[in-house]
């Protein structure tokens, strides 16, 4: 353990060396960067110094980020940088060791996954987690709380309230599925769908909870370039139709650089750079995190 810790420290130090050499005054790590159109409104998410330790390992530390109400933001970083851990913190799968985040101005400390979801944070998973034995439509309907809220009594006797709400839910499910042209698959069992369609169904299911923030964990994983291009348009379409903020974790740089307005780069659990795609591409700390340090030839 101690040896490993030392190595991590050494690598971290070299990363920060480069970063510090890079022009301190231009540092954007602590800045709040929001898209122009969201600037006069309070950010939907204000993450303040979020951190979590697993035993002696600090997985995420001093994570500070603000997300505008209709922003598409990206979180990138090498494998094991702590990206998915941040999603797990934002959805309270893990409770943070340090720091907190405000959602729509409300402090979320101590909330549970269920409460967070009801407040309006929805997510997809890196390894797909669908309700395998339910149909596509049921997967979507299971996530609706506003439209379908009849009690157990109505559920048993299928009264007028049941019929009215189920009908509304059915229509909304088909409408949501039509975003991805999946309305014809409504009756298929979720596990029988092809891989790409399963990923898309996860997004539809997340949207069915009426979220204000949508977290996409590697939405393009396993997709071919044309599917990725299609996904890119759909992410924008979702943002425009629903007027929500989207945060995505992605390794596909063409997707991130094209679709995201703000990007945070994570390495060893810390943000090493923030900015728009152009700034990120030219940031030496980012280049080093991905490619390693340039040998000092001079």
């Amino acid at each position: 353990m101690s040896i490993k810790m030392k190595n991590d420290e050494v690598i971290q130090n070299t990363v920060y060396d480069v970063y510090e050499n890079y022009d301190e005054s231009k540092s954007t790590v602590d800045e709040i960067i929001l898209p122009e159109r969201d600037k006069d409104k309070t950010p939907i998410l204000e993450i303040k110094g979020l951190g979590i330790d697993f035993g002696g390992l600090t997985a995420v530390d001093e994570f500070t980020l603000s997300i505008g109400r209709t922003e598409i933001a990206g979180i990138i970083g090498p494998n094991g940088a702590g990206k998915t851990t941040i999603f797990n913190l934002l959805t309270k799968v893990y409770q943070p060791t340090r720091g907190t985040f405000l959602f729509d101005g409300v402090d979320t400390a101590g909330m549970t996954t269920t409460q967070i979801s009801k407040m309006g944070i929805a997510r997809t998973f890196q390894n797909i987690r669908l309700f395998d034995k339910l149909t596509v439509e049921e997967n979507v309907k299971a996530a609706m709380h506003e439209e379908v809220n009849y009690g157990l009594f109505s559920g048993i006797f299928h009264g007028p309230k049941y019929r009215r709400q189920e009908k509304a839910a059915h229509e909304k499910a088909l409408e949501l599925l039509s975003i991805f042209d999946m309305q014809d698959m409504a009756d298929y069992q979720a596990s029988s769908l092809p891989y790409g369609a399963q990923r898309r169904l996860e997004i539809v299911r997340a949207l069915a909870t009426d979220p204000k923030v949508l977290l996409l964990d590697e939405p393009a994983a396993g997709m071919n370039p044309s599917e990725t291009a299609e996904l890119m348009n759909n992410i924008r379409k979702i943002r425009d139709t629903f007027g929500i903020a989207i945060i995505l974790i992605e390794h596909d740089m063409s997707l991130v650089m094209n679709v995201c307005e703000g990007i945070a780069v994570l390495n060893f659990g810390r943000i090493i750079a923030k900015g728009n795609p152009e700034e990120i591409q030219n940031n030496p700390a980012v280049i080093e995190a991905y490619l390693g340090k340039k040998k000092e030839a001079k």
């Binding site: 998973f125 669908l130 189920e166 009756d187 069915a208």
Partner: protein
Amino acid sequence: MKMKIKNGKLSPYTKNSIISYGIVIIAFVVVTVLNSMGAVSSSLQGQLVPICAYIIMAVSLNLVVGISGELSLGHAGFMSAGAFMGIVVSGMLESSGLPDGVRLAAAVICGAILAGILGFLIGIPVLRLRGDYLAIVTLAFGEIIKNIMNIVYAGVDSNGFHLRTNPDLGLEESGRMLLNGPMGATAVQRISTFTAGFILVLITLFIVQNIMNSRQGRAIMACRDNRIAAESIGLNVMRYKLMAFTVSAALAGMGGALFGLNYSTLLPIKFNFNTSVLILVFVVLGGLGNIWGSIIAATVLTILPEALRQFADYRMLAYAIVLILVMIFTYSPKIKMFTQGLREKVFKGKNKTPEPETEGGV
């Protein structure tokens, strides 16, 4: 029940519901007709009510094991609570002069309520566990209920109802002992009938199948399929598991009351671990989550031991062999493939599999 027709096809739930109701109604009509012709053997006649009770038990356990995905080994405990509650209620009403049907209804309702309350209370700690641990703890609670029944003495006289944990109830001369500790209930008036059993089976099917096809059912199944995802879309997993467990326990209490009032003597030991496992076997053999499968399995496996009586000492051996063979033949992948191939030939082009994804087709 409303039929839902989508693109000219019945939704799978509706289709399965119709099969379940169909099986039960047809079986009832056939048995009633045969009975009136005197074609039903007396041994089968005696088994009609237990079959109904076991169908209720199997269908209700399917709600926990199949639909909610939690292995429960204490179902006989709820059956026992329902049975003895039913016997007590029916015994207390005996002198009231109410017709048997009304007394049975009161007994069944009280049995269901008691078992439902027990299910709820036991569910709160038990459902915090998962998998094997949950199974072991439900087993323990089932045994606890059995052992409590072993020390409960109840009686009724003109002063009212007496409940103690020792035999000295201080009953009047005219008083009547209802529960007698380990001796169970004796001299019970047998008021369960096949028709009542049939109606209770239909009620059970109605409740379980309608729940499956509702918001609650979707939530229960979602929690079974993926707990983390269910939480991420805002479902309170504990709440829905508890809902399934409580409804299942209440239905088991109903089945228990029906079962208890079919015998003149009933020992608490009857509802032991073996009975819980027997009910679980019905569910597993019928298929997890498959309601009509539970109905058929409960019926066949209740009749089978009697039908195998000619094998005398080898009866239970034959029973086990039949059980194994049925398992192999229903779940073998080769046989599944064969039946599916057959189905595809019969309904050509109606098979429901998504077309392979075309490139770029999003």
